[in-house]
């Protein structure tokens, strides 16, 4: 935030964040959700760009690299890779972050980041659950998306890699869902045509 203030109108890039602790979780899902939290935090702090540090690296027991290349033999995609892929897929430069508010267990529970398309007609909400327990959430959209009736969903968890889930239907003006422990769900909303 302070850097953003100093930077003024300059674009602020985060270039070298990575998980460094040893991670024996399935596919390194723990590192993946930490990655998601880090991305949330830097964007909340005002960053405009996030660079995945250690994109490709030799195999290791900590979670900093997204792709592990065993020299000349083969490579492996880690959970941090899939989370990054899920996060990147619906985004386009020129989108705008929008304000998020929490009531309940957050902010130390789930972390949400929302981006509005440049034309204002679609909205993407990433919600990360870095906890070791399921997290029920209700998402309420205020403004022109308040009448949205469905949300496309994709999820990365210990057992899923950017898996497309059945669309979520609005109930009582909001969308309720339960994030499995250590997971990230991406919701995509479209403006309802009048």
């Amino acid at each position: 935030m302070a850097l953003k203030k100093l930077g003024g109108t300059r674009s602020v890039w985060t270039t070298e964040w990575c998980a460094r602790t040893k991670d024996a979780s399935p596919g390194m899902i723990n590192s993946a959700t930490e990655y998601g939290v880090a991305m949330h935090d830097v964007f909340l702090g005002g960053a405009n760009v996030f660079m995945a540090y250690d994109w490709v690296y030799p195999p290791r027991d900590s979670g900093e690299a997204l792709i592990h290349v065993n020299w000349g033999n083969d490579y492996t995609l880690t959970k941090p890779y899939h989370l990054f892929r899920q996060r990147a897929a619906p985004l386009k430069p020129g989108m705008r972050f929008v304000e998020i508010g929490y009531t309940g267990k957050a902010p130390i529970g789930v972390r949400a980041t929302a981006l509005l398309a440049a034309d204002g007609n679609s909205l993407v909400v990433h919600v990360v659950n870095p906890q070791d327990m399921d997290a029920p959430v209700a998402i309420k959209l205020i403004g022109k998306f308040a009448t949205a009736t469905t949300a496309e969903r994709k999820r990365t968890s210990a057992t899923e890699d950017v898996m497309a889930l059945p669309s979520l239907m609005a109930e009582k003006g909001g969308f309720t869902d339960t994030l499995p422990a250590r997971s990230m769900v991406t919701y995509r909303y479209e403006v309802v045509a009048k």
Binding site: A52, T103, P107, K140
Partner: protein, 401 residues
Amino acid sequence: MIEGGEIPSLPKEGDAFAVPLGSGRYSVCRVILDRSNETGQWHGGAILVAGSDWVGDEVPLPDEPALRSILHLTHHSWNNSLNIIWVAEEPPDDFILIGTIRPSLEEQSIPCDRFSSWSTFMIQPLVQWRWDNKREAVRELERDDVANQISVQPGADVVSGRFDRCVGDRIAGQIGPIPNRHRSGVDHARRSVRGDCRTRDLESTPNDAPGLLPADGRGHRSLGGRHPVAGPHRMATRTSWSRNDAHGDIRRTRDRRDRVRNRDRCRSRTPTACEQGSGTRVNFDGFITRRNIPIIRRCPVVSASPRNGITRSLIVVCVILVGTMGDAQSQDKTLITVQTAKPRQVFDGLGAGAIFYEGHITSLAARNKNERQEQLYDDMFKEIPTRYLQLMIREAIGGWR
């Protein structure tokens, strides 16, 4: 509490205060983010303040490293939240400015959507300490909290059910009926909207509690959830109003009668009418002492202005209530509100950083695994729409192949 359109003079980023907890003990809070000059945003006009898990018996110097550690709240359903809140009012007169503790960027990035008052930094260390050391007593009190009457009795962790009546009933009216099992949350919320709930009303005699602080008198984190007081450091149980007080029943009856009378008076008068009452004291060991201490209080008029402290406090109350509604609702949903009419910064894209580390990225082709190499390139660049690529080239040191 700041009245009407008066603009409070808020501390600046880094300002650190010794917070009096009573009996010569202090904790510390400090400003980690200043948005007081911003307008139009939810946090505009406010500062983000963090409460330390440090407690000592002297006003500390700002360069004490232990002051930086933020108290984790684990009592009730705070779920290990950090003791951080937005504040939009001036600190109380009895907070002591001790200097500057520069916040880190990490601290400034801690998400927080709770507004409250400075009294939080006097109350939370005490409530957390009781939770860590007297949990059964807290539970017992909550079970016995019949008919929403917070009795003055040993073992209570509430400051008072009486002096918050004016504001509390008003708030309760705003948010609807509250089950008895959630009353502790209500009282916590009430305390949060009361700027006059000072720890000067908290009392414990240092001689009565020789073990709470180390013999050298230097600060420690005995109140923090991660550093419970144990063994020889556990505080002795002594109060100036004990359960053996022969007049206790009479006093309790009188107090209850006074509460009803005072509440009715508050309801029948204008919002600024209730000014004076007796005080309640809470010791670290959890006993409550009732004394005739003049306390000036007000029942503020609730306005619709978003910059009004009371309005914010009401919002805070709702947040706190959800956060403290007991373990039975620990599976409550987290409500995420997305406000598309409040845009923030532009997203300029994602990128990837790769080290050409002994040619590992191209090593599959080097072993004639061309198809697999192409798959790797696709996974790197086709599957993820990155806009930037950062290359780091470094000299090979030894071989890892």
